[in-house]
Subunit: 571 residues, 2 copies
């Protein structure tokens, strides 16, 4: 019984060396300092009341600590996820209404269930079909959208709009509400945050501070900005001229699940899937990045189960979709987190804030919150991958640009679909028209190379053709046509060199039969060589090994020798 | 000017040896004898009045003769296409109404425009994404549906219904209308047709007829059945008890295009695309099959343009979607067709029938027409591919069965989608989890093989790992995880053998960088070997050639030698 209970405990609880404790405690405190403004800010991005951000930072932290295997991943609200929530809900309910919050909860529940299911079915590889360029284009465009959506609050008006044109026209319509006070305070905070990140540590060290103390102060920079903003706002003459966070209800989050009419469910399924997809990709990359230096092993399907449970937990405690946050997780690791205990400590501190300290948040000016959001997502707008892709793979570059443009112009979820279709379509289209080369022998060797690029020798009447692709229904017809067109009319033998064929399917097997018949009708014999073992096994089961008996060679060199006049050797 | 005009003529018109004339004429006549009942029958399958079948057999024949390049392909109504038309229109308009016929015309127009566009954009490879098992499952299920839909007319009632349950319940509901006269006549015709195909030639030859005369009589068997049926029906006491073709309006088909409300267009787009897809696959396979023995060259995109024009022509002359018919085309070739002149002759004869001989069709009993349909599509129900696929590739077998079941249970077009998704998904899923082998050297050779299957030698501290798949976003994450897990902890060098990597994309390049860093963090150096030229070009542009400088080997053997203690050679 005791052994069974111990089996249920996460590994870090079973063997916890006391030496790790100080690291976990200090990391837990630092992450909390970062988490409070992020939670409020990302709730704002999602169009939800500030307390939902705090609620979404309680249960997920605890649940991940129990189920997750990454020592430093900090699960909670995240910028791009919050943007996806807002982009989905803006179509379905008026912002600020009760409906809106209920739908957000259900998005978390549905995407959590999907993640759980994908993990249990070991289908984590679904995430792999978002290519890096699509992901990078998606994140860059989302970050740009988030920056633009924060321009309103930064200027003292309201933001909103789920596409670039809607955002810009929204800003234009609100231009009368712009306030100099908000601009000065928010702009000042933004400059401070950007400057402190780049230069503060150096300045502090010049002033004589130790490196680690300097780093600690740099991490505290957002907190300083928020405190300064609160002090300014609390001053009599400013309070009326700034939008503030205002009353945040104190107390535990509501447990339970608001009732959703069945008819609204279909609208949520696809957005929930996209949110699950983005969250799983985000969380897995954070976990893998953190795992690398420690040699930690991350099992993707297990992580999906943990992340799914976190989202279900967030839903049942009044939150919204959550995932592993990159900044917070890195700060957590840097600040010395050794185990998930750090997250447990953050959760406890957050709970204390929710219970006792919400009144302290009253004077927090929205413009300063927006400044912290802008400062933290600016680095996500990154075109370096586009530059590299442009240089080496145009389809990838196209997928990046199309995703980026679609997110801005059509919407965040359409962007994912467009990118996915382009990258899959591009990859499949290339597999549909594979590279087929006529090859010849490098004189005096057993090596064969493309006759176009190397000075090789050929055998009269024998064509060696190499297909550099697996053979399947997507290219069978095309390969057959090319292979029929390539051998010169005087060929007697055509040798198909299959070193590049990793897999083969039924359609391609039928193609080989039909190719064999068509070449035979022209008086040419088709031989095969360098067939990989798994491919040969399939051909054997389909009866092709029998059909081609005596015409299958181990290597091109062996085939070459078979048709070389013997006197070469007899001289 | 004359040269320009001559350039416009199809090749067969420019040089027509008179010796071909008799073959083309006799083939043209025989095809017409086959085409008349097929045209009437397939109009019936499509739920359209009989004359539309005749109309659909005029313009397409002429247009294909001008634009098409297959000497013997006979374009016109086809069984499966007609079933697709019926399955689409049954959802959109009541059968027999004017709307129904207008929608059929527009299906032909839209699918014709799509084919034309695909051909002009050289996108013929779209057809390749229907795999052979999907196609075979689709055709078998469609043929079964056609047979079942003809049971009604064969029994003297009406058929109809676009899924198996609908067809069966339709038959049950009509059971009161079954007539013994229809069953006897139709059943007799069916038996005659099936028997004559298998045994008539042998019997006639035993009776002393020459082989070619016997074959001619076998081909005439359907015509004999129809004539006999007409004679029986014309007899006084039967006419009332049989459904007849009845009045077929004489005269040229109506030229023009009925007006379609914009709002109905969206309903037609997807079905038109499926019809275009099925028609192009059908027509291309017929053309390629006929081309093979003559060494004729078929250019798929050119054929799509011709087929598109045929469908547009059918639409503008009151027809419905058409494609190359397998039976008719084979009969055309066998009967001696040398050029497209044979089709021109068929068209002229069909025109004569439409103008002057429609009254002769009045007494044709529907039950006999149904018998000819059943006799001609029975051979299409074919599970041989399923058997082969089951033995060698389960995904293909699954795709066949799912397509077959979906066509019967959900509908013809859903079947295509289901099959397409399964075959593509199955292929991609396999590429997502590629075969990765640890390899070693066959003693004393330069050949490397899987350590599991061969007794090979390995180098202590060096892991040779071979990936048998192109690397791309769909498998990058997975490959990285496997490659990180495979080398034993005491490895100092990991050699990635890339002989199976035909292509690489940006996501996989990033994966190689991250893999390199992760292995380095464990004290292992990553080397690469057997990189194909196109893959190396991409890696070079992305800066990976530089990153891996000094760690790239031509072959596994070269890498092996680099880490072999030199004293082996110095002794």
């Amino acid at each position: 019984m005791k052994a069974y209970l111990s089996h249920l405990l996460p590994p870090w609880m079973k063997h916890y060396p006391r030496i790790w404790l100080s690291g976990d405690i200090s990391a837990g405190i630092i992450v909390t300092l970062l988490l409070v403004p992020q939670a409020l800010a990302y709730a704002m991005v999602a169009g939800l009341p500030p307390q939902t951000g705090l609620y979404a930072s309680l249960a997920p932290l605890l649940i991940y600590a129990l189920l997750g295997r990454s020592h430093a991943q900090s699960v909670g609200p995240m910028a791009v996820t919050s943007l996806l929530v807002a982009a989905t809900l803006v179509r379905l309910a008026p912002q600020g209404g009760a409906d809106y919050a209920v739908l957000a909860v259900w998005l978390a529940l549905l995407s959590g269930l999907m993640l759980l299911l994908l993990g249990l079915l070991r289908l984590g590889l679904v995430a792999d079909f978002l290519s890096q360029p699509v992901l990078s284009g998606f994140v860059s465009a989302s970050a740009l959208m988030i920056v633009l959506s924060q321009l309103g609050p930064l200027l003292g008006s309201q933001g909103g709009g789920s596409t670039l044109p809607a955002l810009l026209s929204g800003l234009w319509a609100q231009r009368q509400a712009f306030s100099l006070a908000a601009l000065l305070l928010g702009g000042g905070a933004l400059l401070w945050l950007l400057w402190s990140r780049h230069a503060l540590a150096a300045v502090l060290q010049k002033l004589g501070l130790g490196a680690s103390a300097a780093l600690l102060l740099v991490r505290a920079a957002p907190v300083l900005a928020l405190l300064a903003g609160m002090l300014v706002a609390a001053g009599d003459d400013m309070a009326g001229r700034l939008h503030l966070v205002g009353e945040v209800p104190a107390g535990l989050p509501p447990l339970g699940l608001a009732w959703l009419p069945w008819s609204r469910l279909p609208d949520l399924v696809l957005p929930a899937f996209f949110i699950a997809l983005v969250n799983m990709v985000q969380s897995l990359s954070v976990a893998q990045m953190l795992a690398q230096p420690r040699g930690e092993r991350i099992e993707p399907n297990r992580e999906l189960i943990a992340l799914g449970a976190c989202n279900i937990g967030a839903a049942l405690s009044g939150g919204f979709p959550v995932t592993g946050g990159l900044t917070r997780s890195v700060v957590n690791a840097d600040a010395g987190a050794q185990t998930q205990l750090s997250s447990v400590i953050s959760a406890v501190l957050m709970l204390a804030i929710v219970l006792f300290a919400t009144r302290a948040l009253y004077y927090l000016p929205l413009t300063v919150l927006s400044a912290t959001i802008v400062a933290s997502v600016l680095a996500l707008i990154d075109f370096s991958l586009l530059r590299r892709a442009w240089a080496c793979n145009r389809v990838d570059a196209l997928a990046f640009m199309a995703t980026f443009a679609s997110v801005l112009l059509i919407g965040v979820d359409s962007g994912i679909i467009v990118g996915l279709l382009i990258s899959l379509g591009g990859w499949l289209a290339k597999s549909g028209q594979p590279h087929i080369a006529q090859i010849g022998r490098l004189p005096g060797s057993e090596h064969f190379r493309n006759v176009r690029n190397f000075s090789v020798e050929t055998l009269p009447g024998v064509s060696f053709l190499r297909v550099d692709e697996s053979l399947y229904f997507g290219n069978a017809r095309n390969v057959e046509a090319v292979l029929l067109a390539m051998p010169p009319a005087n060929s007697r033998h055509v040798v198909l060199v299959m070193s590049g064929v990793n897999r083969i399917d039924m359609s391609a097997l039928l193609m080989l039969e039909s190719l064999d018949a068509a070449l035979a009708a022209r008086g040419m014999a088709l031989s095969l060589c360098e067939i990989k073992q798994p491919v040969f096994a399939v051909m054997d089961k389909a009866g092709l090994a029998q059909r081609f008996a005596g015409r299958i060679f181990i290597s091109a060199a062996q085939a070459w020798q078979a048709w070389t006049p013997q006197r070469d050797y007899q001289i």
